[in-house]
């Protein structure tokens, strides 16, 4: 075997390998662009357009979730949270407190641990368990769809959030906790994925409030 054919053997396989690698990398890059184009996950690709019909339709799905016990129980009309699938007033009457985290010996995290506990009737867990603060109560209980939509959009009543921040809020740890409800509690009526899709559609299509009845 002469030197040239030896060189061919040495270099042939790396070139083939490089071609395969380039192809694989191209596929990965193209796929990542594909994910980026997903309007529900990409901030840069998100388009805000006005479509009141689509927006209101999406909000009605959002409303079903927000008024479910997993969300509404910690957005009560009074200063005591609600409890259970029937949204009864929380036993032991824990008070909201200034920061929403309870008062004195009755702070949320005294019973609610950082994680759920095994077994029925144990307090559900989250490291950030709290109600909205006293100066921004963000009440869901008793709100009509029109009232709740307007309240969520208004920074004066939504915790000073912009539309972009509201969209990000769909992935907030305590929002996600609604779908990690612990044993024996009914889940919200939509999956988190479906909720997030409806939430983002509502906002990006104009964040319209349903007509007041």
């Amino acid at each position: 075997m002469n030197i040239r054919s030896q060189m061919r053997r040495v270099y042939f396989f790396p070139i083939k390998t490089i071609i395969v690698l380039v192809f694989v990398l191209s596929v990965i890059v193209l796929m990542s662009f594909g994910f980026k184009n997903d309007p529900f996950n990409s901030k840069s690709e998100r388009k805000f357009t006005k479509d009141s019909v689509q927006s209101v339709k999406a909000f009605m799905d959002v409303y079903k979730v927000l008024m479910s016990p997993r969300c509404m129980n910690c957005h009560p009309a009074g200063d005591v949270p609600l409890q259970g699938d029937d949204s009864h007033i929380h036993s032991m009457l824990p008070q909201r407190g200034k920061d929403g985290k309870g008062i004195y010996a009755m702070k949320c995290s005294n019973c609610h641990q950082p994680t759920n506990l095994d077994g029925l009737n144990k307090p559900p867990g989250n490291p950030n368990w709290h109600l909205p603060p006293a100066n921004m109560k963000m009440v869901f209980e008793g709100r009509t769809p029109a009232q709740l939509a307007k309240q969520i959009i208004d920074p004066k009543t939504n915790g000073n959030k912009t539309l972009e921040q509201l969209i990000e809020h769909a992935d907030d740890g305590l929002v996600l906790a609604g779908w990690n409800m612990g044993e024996g509690r009914v889940a919200p009526p939509l999956s988190h994925e479906e909720f997030k899709k409806a939430w983002i559609t509502w906002i990006t299509k104009g964040a319209y409030a349903p007509a007041a009845k």
Partner: protein, 153 residues
């Protein structure tokens, strides 16, 4: 092995990190002043202080207490002379006494954060501590007396 700081002492205990703190206190360290009532954070008999907060040790995993300061009824004062303990004796609060360590530990947080609690403050702070004997009115009196003792130093 898990290292805990309880009543200013260090304990090394060989337990599952998921074990409720209450069981470690009572069964491993033999601090039995803290009581088991319901096991689901509904009654308040098991209240201890975790970094000064009145947590319910029946639902608190021992892993949550690692690196933190735990105080039980045995460690509330050096000589059983916390204003609440003095007031409790003076008013003769206890009937059967089972819930009283939890009551006192919850009241201690109230008095630390509010030096002059009203009836409304006391009710709000103590609503999670049940007493089957119904000593609530004496508890309220004793907390007011303890606040008075505390103010007078």
């Amino acid at each position: 092995m898990i290292t805990l700081n309880i009543n200013k002492k260090t304990y090394n205990v060989d337990v599952d990190p998921e074990t409720p703190l209450l069981w470690v206190l009572r069964d491993v360290i033999n601090l039995v002043g803290t009581k088991y009532g319901c096991g689901v954070a509904q009654c308040g008999a098991c209240v201890v202080h975790l970094n000064g907060e009145a947590v319910r040790s029946c639902v608190t995993k021992v892993s949550r207490a690692v690196g933190q300061k735990v105080v039980t009824i045995e460690g509330l004062s050096e000589n059983n002379d916390h204003p609440l303990q003095k007031a409790w004796l003076e008013v003769d609060v206890a009937q059967c006494g089972y819930c009283q360590s939890g009551q006192i530990m919850s009241a201690a947080v109230l008095l630390r954060e509010n030096k002059n609690p009203t009836d409304k403050d006391i009710d709000a702070a103590m609503a999670g501590n049940l007493c089957r004997c119904g000593t609530y009115l004496r508890i309220r009196d004793a907390i007011k007396l303890a606040a008075d003792i505390q103010r007078k130093g």
